[in-house]
């Protein structure tokens, strides 16, 4: 889709990123056991996002895709690893510097019913970032808000500016959230399932807006989704996550034409295809995703893998570039 857009520099780079959440214990347990247990939500992932690229993290619930997005914009503290933004290490940035950084990186959340303050009018919700960063207030703020509302297709913007979230439909709310995320003219946006709560007929509008902002504003996106059909439509590159790790990553074309990891293959075969005459063979997986507290040894997918060998339960496979720009973490593929 992106025909030769400039993909030179890396905007975001993530190296060996880990995010563990301690498991809450009861009072007695705390007294008598020393050992702390962790949910390993993100367990050592490395990738980079190039300028003006739409990079997608896809996977089932609990695979760590949302946590990764939140750690990158520093809404969560990473346990270890390194995050760079335009060549600068931002892993430990704090206070004023972090605030300035947030002008450059924004996030859109999944649920527009929860991400907008029900007591704020559109003008205040969208204009709030301007006030926080001391960029505009009063009439000037209003002008800028009108401008972005027009950009996200809430036209005429004067009609929307004084409405509260409950007066807007789901699609309109997500547009307001989109307007809020671009008002500071950021360079990078994390879009966490931005269309999964919106009706099908309106999804395309939101996706098309995101695509047009990439061109117009030179934006780079980290797109997070569980819906691979949407991922295929919007992304340039896709990484598939399973239990906190990237198990396959590649250009959209090669990943969908030639999925190599058994999990990716199963995932793709499970997606419904809107064609009643097409009967596809589904790849069966046994069991369900294990808990992120007790991650299986070796390859974390091995208990469910139809092709597992002895090696898989002992040794963790590395993410290797098997074709140009196509990385897979599996012992079986050579």
């Amino acid at each position: 889709m992106a025909k030769k857009v400039f993909m030179l520099s890396e905007v975001v780079k993530v190296e060996q990123l880990e995010k563990y959440f301690p498991v809450q214990k009861g009072f007695l347990e705390q007294l008598f056991t020393r050992e702390l247990r962790y949910v390993k939500a993100v367990d050592g992932i490395t990738f980079s996002i190039r300028s003006r690229e739409i990079f997608t993290l896809a996977g089932e619930s609990g695979c760590g895709k949302t946590t990764t997005g939140r750690v990158i914009v520093r809404l969560l503290e990473p346990t270890s690893g390194k995050i760079s933004f335009k060549g600068r290490d931002i892993t430990k940035v704090k206070g004023e510097k972090l605030r300035l950084l947030r002008r450059k990186m924004q996030i859109i959340f999944q649920d527009p019913y929860a991400s907008l303050n029900p007591r704020m009018k559109t003008v205040d919700a969208v204009g709030h970032p301007l006030e926080i960063h001391g960029l505009a207030k009063g009439e000037e703020k209003k002008e800028k808000v009108l401008e972005v509302l027009d950009k996200v297709g809430l036209t005429p913007p004067e009609q929307f500016i004084n409405l509260h979230p409950h007066q807007l439909s789901g699609g309109q709310r997500q547009r307001v959230a989109l307007a809020r995320s671009i008002i500071l003219k950021p360079e990078f946006i994390v879009a966490d399932e931005p269309v999964s709560m919106i009706d099908v007929s309106l999804r395309t509008t939101i996706i098309d807006l995101m695509l047009s902002f990439r061109k117009e504003l030179g934006l780079t996106y980290l797109f997070i989704t569980h819906d691979l059909a949407v991922a295929k439509y919007i992304s340039d590159r896709i990484a598939i996550m399973y239990l906190g790790k990237i198990i396959e990553m590649g250009d959209k074309e090669s990943l969908f034409v030639n999925p190599m990891h058994p999990y990716t293959q199963a995932l793709l075969s499970a997606i419904p295809v809107p064609n009643p005459e097409r009967k596809r063979k589904r790849i069966e997986l046994s069991g369900e995703v294990p808990s992120a507290i007790d991650i299986p040894t070796g390859c974390r997918f091995h208990p469910r893998c139809p092709y597992r060998t002895d090696k898989c339960s002992k040794e963790e496979p590395l993410l290797i570039e098997l074709e140009k720009n196509h990385f897979v973490a599996c012992h079986l593929i050579k």
Partner: protein, 330 residues
């Protein structure tokens, strides 16, 4: 005679702010062994339609017009206690959210025991237990887990238990309302396949309600597309996929991504669904329609058949089609 027959069903939600006509003049029929898909966006009336069939439209909803016949019985005329014996035994309903549909303080076995004893008081405990175990086996859940509580199961397993409860009394019709919306794709595929297998095994009629047209197209023989409470198109899955007639159906098909196509161009339907308290006059879709004509703003289009078994509610097809609603009366 078909097993289920719904004729000009109209359901209103009568509220202080006004009346919402959630379902208007919907007619269809379904035989045993068939799968019908109800597709539409939120607020299109698909759940209301499903719930009307078991007469469980929530307050302040009222069925104001129409007939629903199940196995030859007009259920809208039945007293409540007789209706209760139809629910569960003849018609079962699978709700959307498996997390909240099971009682958290009851073991799985107790859910089944209660269901079986309510409908068949003469069943012995042992027999009920045997039957439960057999149902669980069909759903690939270990029978030993009968003594576990709902929280000990994953989302997909809980939904399978819900399906088990629905089929435990071997009903003739199962209505599955967004049965996989809260689940991941791999689990979703498993559940849908399971429903399909059970349909074959027990010869049941299945109504699948979903906002996801991909699922409906993949799994259903017949499909009803609902828009703002109106049945705007009704056809077999293959026909609907090949020759969608209504501009809304065409728009929907253009807005769903298909992973098997490369370089697909998606197109959005402009505008948003209408406010049901104040729906547009005439055709309910006209404010979003690219083919809108003068007549669409004034008059409501009738449901006409463009082909045998392919009905559409749109003025674009007025001439060649036959006026169904009128022909039925004559």
């Amino acid at each position: 005679m078909p097993f289920l027959e719904v004729d000009s069903l109209t359901v209103d939600y009568q509220m202080r702010r006004g009346t919402i006509r959630a379902v208007e003049n919907v007619s269809f029929s379904l035989d045993k062994g068939e799968t019908l898909g109800l597709a539409g966006e939120s607020g299109s009336g698909k759940s209301t339609l499903g719930l009307s069939i078991i007469r469980l439209v929530p307050y302040p909803g009222v069925i104001v017009e129409g007939h629903i016949e199940i196995d030859g019985t007009d259920i809208l005329k039945l007293p409540e206690h007789e209706m209760r014996s139809i629910r569960g035994r003849k018609v079962a309903y699978i709700f959307q959210d498996p997390m909240t549909s099971l009682n958290p303080v009851k073991r799985i076995g107790a859910h089944f025991a209660e269901l079986i004893h309510t409908h068949e008081p003469n069943t012995s405990k042992e027999e009920a237990l045997e039957r439960t175990k057999k149902v669980l086996e069909n759903l690939e859940i270990l029978p030993e887990r009968i003594n576990d509580y709902p929280h000990q199961f994953s989302g997909g397993m809980r939904q399978r238990i819900m399906i088990g409860l629905a089929i435990a009394l071997t009903p003739d019709l199962v209505i599955a309302d967004e049965p996989t919306t809260a689940l991941d794709v791999i689990v979703q595929a498993k559940i849908l396949e399971l429903l399909g297998n059970l349909r074959k095994m027990y010869g049941l009629a299945l109504i699948l309600i979903s906002h996801d047209l991909s699922i409906i197209l993949e799994k259903c023989d017949k499909i009803i597309i609902l828009y703002a409470g109106h049945m705007i198109e009704y056809a077999t899955g293959i026909e609907l996929h090949k020759h969608p007639k209504h501009p809304y159906t065409q728009g929907l098909l253009h807005s769903i991504p298909n992973i098997e196509l490369s370089d697909q161009k998606l197109a959005a339907i402009p505008g948003s669904p209408p406010n049901m308290l104040n729906p547009p006059k005439g055709c309910r879709f006209w404010p979003r329609c690219s083919h809108v004509k003068e007549i669409c703003r004034v008059r409501e289009p009738p449901l006409i058949d463009v082909k045998p078994n392919h009905f559409v509610r749109c003025f674009l097809y007025g001439k060649e089609g036959v006026h169904v609603e009128r022909s039925r009366k004559s």
